[in-house]
């Protein structure tokens, strides 16, 4: 649980390093809190996917992260009638990369399930290789979507820190393995801490504290 809290805390704290009280209204900030919670979940899934992986726990939490990612996308699609323009031809590349991230996460999860996994990959190492490649694509496109959209990481050092965190998580797997076996939390814990961090994110930005 400590690893999850630390991961979510790093993601949310980076957004507060500059203009921490700048809110855009509860609707907009809550939708983006879902997005940051989904990104934190992605990082946590990567950190915990080391040797002696609890495949079932990894898979179940993957569903939770996908659900939060879908909720982030549909929050804006359903709640802001102009937001759909961000997903039509001519939309900025950072929004298309958000779509790429969502789709690759969906494929990452669904293609890892038997029998499709067996149908797609001749052996387990082949599956592991492509699962890692797709995970990196998902993480990279999500990072681009968040950093370049520039909604909450307006200062250059926030963007740099965010990229450094994403690259470190994706590339330092041998180091994460040395931390020992981290027990992967369930969806209830992930959703609870996402809600706590998300509520703080919205409250600090929109309440006159």
């Amino acid at each position: 649980m400590k690893a999850l809290v630390a991961t979510l805390a790093i993601v949310f704290v980076i957004t507060f390093l500059a203009a921490p009280t700048m809110g855009a209204g509860w609707f907009w900030d809550a939708g983006n809190a879902l997005g940051f919670a989904a990104f934190g979940g992605l990082l946590y899934l990567t950190i915990t996917s080391v040797r002696r992986l609890d495949v079932r726990a990894h898979q179940v939490l993957g569903y939770g992260v996908l659900a939060v990612t879908v909720a982030h996308a549909f929050w804006f699609l359903l709640g802001d009638a102009a937001a759909v323009e961000f997903l039509k031809p001519g939309a900025p590349d950072y929004m298309w990369l958000g779509v790429v991230s969502l789709l690759s996460l969906g494929v990452l999860i669904t293609a890892a399930l038997v029998p499709d996994r067996i149908r797609l990959h001749k052996d387990y190492p082949s599956f592991k290789y492509w699962h890692r490649v797709l995970a990196i694509v998902t993480l990279a496109s999500a990072t681009y979507h968040i950093v370049v959209s520039n909604f909450y990481l307006g200062a250059w050092y926030q963007a740099v820190l965010f990229v450094v965190v994403a690259v470190a998580v994706a590339s330092a797997r041998p180091y994460w393995a040395r931390l020992g076996q981290i027990r992967i939390v369930g969806n209830a814990t992930y959703l609870l801490f996402s809600a706590i961090f998300g509520a703080a994110f919205v409250a600090i930005r929109n309440l006159s504290l």
Binding site: A19, T21, M22, G23, A24, G25, F27, W28, Y63, L66, V70, A73, F74, L77, L78, G79, D80, A81, A82, A83, V84, E85, F86, L87, K88, G90, P92, L103, G106, I109, T110, L113, D116, F151, G154
Partner: protein
């Protein structure tokens, strides 16, 4: 699982094509100010921006790059038209965001519909 995900994506595509059933009034995308393609309406009230220096937006008053309304150039000039969204987001949204960050009520910093519903204010 894959069927649920496929259905979710299909629902997303339906919302993008037909619009949200719960978002309320949708902006009327249309050809505006001679634009080569349909564009979103934009709300802008001079009365709300009276405290700003005119040349902050009307750069043509100072740099002699044309006259008339913003849109006369920004949607009709071939070189400038592709930058319409980026330039206006950078100018309007960033200014709103800077003011909000400074604790000033500087207009909507992010919500799409707060600027793109259109209005009849002068």
């Amino acid at each position: 699982m894959k069927n649920v995900f496929a259905l979710t994506i299909l629902l997303g595509v339906i919302v993008i094509v037909f619009g949200s059933p719960i978002a309320g009034e949708a902006p009327a995308i249309d050809y505006r100010y001679g634009s080569p393609k349909p564009i979103l309406p934009m709300s802008f009230a001079h009365i709300d921006h009276a405290q700003e220096n005119c040349v902050l937006c009307h750069h043509n008053y100072a740099d002699d790059t044309g006259g008339g309304l913003c849109m006369n150039c920004h949607v009709t000039e071939q070189d400038v038209w592709p930058l319409l969204e980026q330039q206006f987001h950078d100018l309007c949204r960033d200014c709103h965001a800077e003011k909000t960050a400074a604790g000033i009520d500087g207009g909507p910093p992010r919500q799409c519909m707060a600027c793109h519903l259109g209005d009849d204010l002068p």
